[in-house]
Symmetry: C2
DNA sequence: TACCAAATTTTGACATGTCAAAATATTACA
DNA sequence: TGTAATATTTTGACATGTCAAAATTTGGTA
């Protein structure tokens, strides 16, 4: 019914919508999906005619109920698959994003539910990203990042939002993954610099951009 | 590189080529894949230009080395996935063919090898179909079927070539699956009829067509 | 050997998704 | 408020895969 291309556009819009309620520009969608601007505009018309988004030319788009539900299901598939690949199949967390990108369009409801069952109906994926419920409801918890959290004391890593393989491999080498504890050794706004110490003792120097993608729970 | 459509055509030709060495007509391919005859012809030109088949108009097609290798890899993916779905995920053997039909185009080499490893480098899928090696070599063993095997004595089911879900469910209800033993209670050519008794004691009446799809190893 | 039926190929059309480049709208700023 | 820079949409083209229906080839048979 809905092509994998349509699913990709919906998922993209959904993810952007998660972080702000403003209408989303076609240019942003185009750059995220790495297609030409005109391509995104054309697809917006298609999605709009299918009732999956509302689209006001030059103003932007917004998912409808139907579009939102569909997108949530795609995202659910993606994240359950990621966790399955790590937990059941033993893949590295840095590899599973791109694998899931392919599989999310090919896995049936039956197989997905079986994965979900084998995983014990999990609520987060290997990166700490929340998994939408089977009904299509996503609960995003608000966490501070390494550039917004209070200094001093232990922090528990709960989520890493930058999914690029190289970055994840770097973090893993330093023992920085959801569930692990870290401490901020120094943070300097002017220098765009955060130095993190993981429980392995190693210090890791990060710029603000990557540091902002590491979400933590301040120690209790 | 090669689209999932191309993969489907190659796999189809490969499977037909497994059972005879004659050139394969475009009409047969079209009917197998449920596309219009002209569609198959168009694709034969494409495949031919890509060097995956040799194509003589009105005479038929044949896989090249390259095409054969590619097709074997697709079939390998299909059969490893089927076994994974049954052995690791607990799906019913009657459901996995259609699931694998989708997944075979989306599973990476990395994931496939991991499946293969988890399954202990298996040589046959849940239906007893042989799995091509990672190098793309397929070893088909010759087995008699319920309409060609000798009468009398126990027979071990080794393979079921009809993959339709309803038929497989029927067999399962009667305890007829690879590894199980059966006995031919009667076979009547004129009536197109075979009556099989499984170890559960139940008798199953089959026509010649379905009976021919059940391959057995005569008891030693 | 000529013709007919069946199979195959060709033709013209369409659907989906994509791009580059031209046209148009929006926004910011001078 | 007018204009320039930027973003968006439109246009025309292309690639892949598909169909229905017309044209062609093949092979058997009279």
């Amino acid at each position: 019914m809905t092509s994998s291309t349509v699913e990709d556009y919906l998922k993209c819009i959904y993810l952007i919508q998660t972080r702000s309620t403003d209408p989303i520009s076609t240019g942003l969608i185009a750059s995220q999906l790495k297609v030409a601007p005109g391509t995104a505009t054309a697809m917006m018309k298609t999605l709009s005619e299918s009732g999956l988004i509302t689209y006001e030319p030059y103003r932007g788009v917004r998912l409808t109920q139907a579009g939102s539900k569909l997108a949530a299901h795609v995202l659910r598939r993606h994240r359950v698959i990621e966790l399955f690949l790590v937990e059941v199949m033993g893949l590295n967390w840095s590899d599973v994003h791109s694998e899931a990108e392919l599989l999310e369009h090919a896995v049936s409801e039956l197989v997905l539910d079986r994965m979900d069952e084998m995983l014990g109906r999990p609520s987060v994926d290997p990166h700490g990203d929340p998994i939408p419920s089977p009904r299509g409801v996503l609960r995003e918890k608000e966490y501070p990042s390494l550039i917004s959290c209070p200094l001093g004391g232990l922090l528990k890593v709960v989520r890493v939002t930058d999914q690029s393989a190289n970055f994840l491999r770097l973090l893993e080498r330093h023992g920085i993954m959801p569930g692990k504890e870290v401490e901020i050794a120094s943070r300097e706004d002017a220098a765009d610099s955060v130095i993190v110490r993981s429980s392995s003792g190693k210090a890791l120097h990060l710029g603000f951009r990557p540091a902002a993608s590491i979400l933590v729970e301040p120690g209790e």
